[in-house]
Amino acid sequence: MSLAEILPKLHELDRTDKWRTVQFLIAELAQEEGVPFTHGATYPIWSPYDSYEAAATLMQVLREEGAPYEAS
């Protein structure tokens, strides 16, 4: 089936089904490209990227232990 044959049928879809089609195609492309994401899935991000209070605490512990490699 060619794109020219599908387009008129897609045009007839209601708004909800058009969005579903878009989501389906994105998921299909992601899978083909090897992108390990699935629509609707939850992916935890563990990186504590803004834990400045934690950083200050650990630096204080290092200082108290007399450990090297403190920030200058």
Binding site: W46, P48, A54, L58, V61
Partner: protein
């Protein structure tokens, strides 16, 4: 110029293709009489080092004896963390003291972050070559 060690990226699942590569570093962690070799994720965006609960236990640490509470952000904020100092060795460099936020989470990987892993080591990433180079900020040992 200090000597650098070149390390290839690791892949968690070759079926995932180019997106599955990540900079993992083998590091020996030692505390008192115990030591373990683990893979740590080089995370330049992480403010601190993070150690999952089971690794702390493997190093003989006891939760109730670690008095310094560390407040983490993101997914890790919901769980308590304590400060834990260990000796870390990245071959062929000399051991360095590393401070970890020892979390109660067992899902998190060992994260090597700005405090204080990247204060002890310079790392240069070559993503196109799927490799990184690491050197100690101290003289090559």
């Amino acid at each position: 110029m200090k000597q650098a060690r070149r390390v290839s990226f690791s892949t968690i699942d070759p079926r995932l293709g180019d997106t599955s590569y990540r900079p993992m570093l083998s590091v020996r962690l030692a505390r008192q009489e115990r030591s373990i070799v683990v893979e740590g994720l080089l995370d330049t965006g992480a403010t601190v080092n993070v150690m999952p609960y089971h690794l702390g236990l493997a190093l003989g640490a006891r939760w109730e004896e670690q008095q310094v509470v560390v407040h983490l952000s993101g997914n890790l904020a919901q769980l308590e963390a304590r400060a834990l100092l260990v000796l870390a060795t990245v071959e062929p460099f000399a051991p360095v003291t590393q401070a970890f936020a020892w979390t109660q989470s067992t899902d998190v990987p060992l994260i090597l972050g700005q405090v204080n892993f990247f204060q002890a080591f310079d790392v240069c990433f070559f993503r196109s070559e799927l490799a990184f180079e690491i050197r100690s900020i101290r003289a090559f040992q």
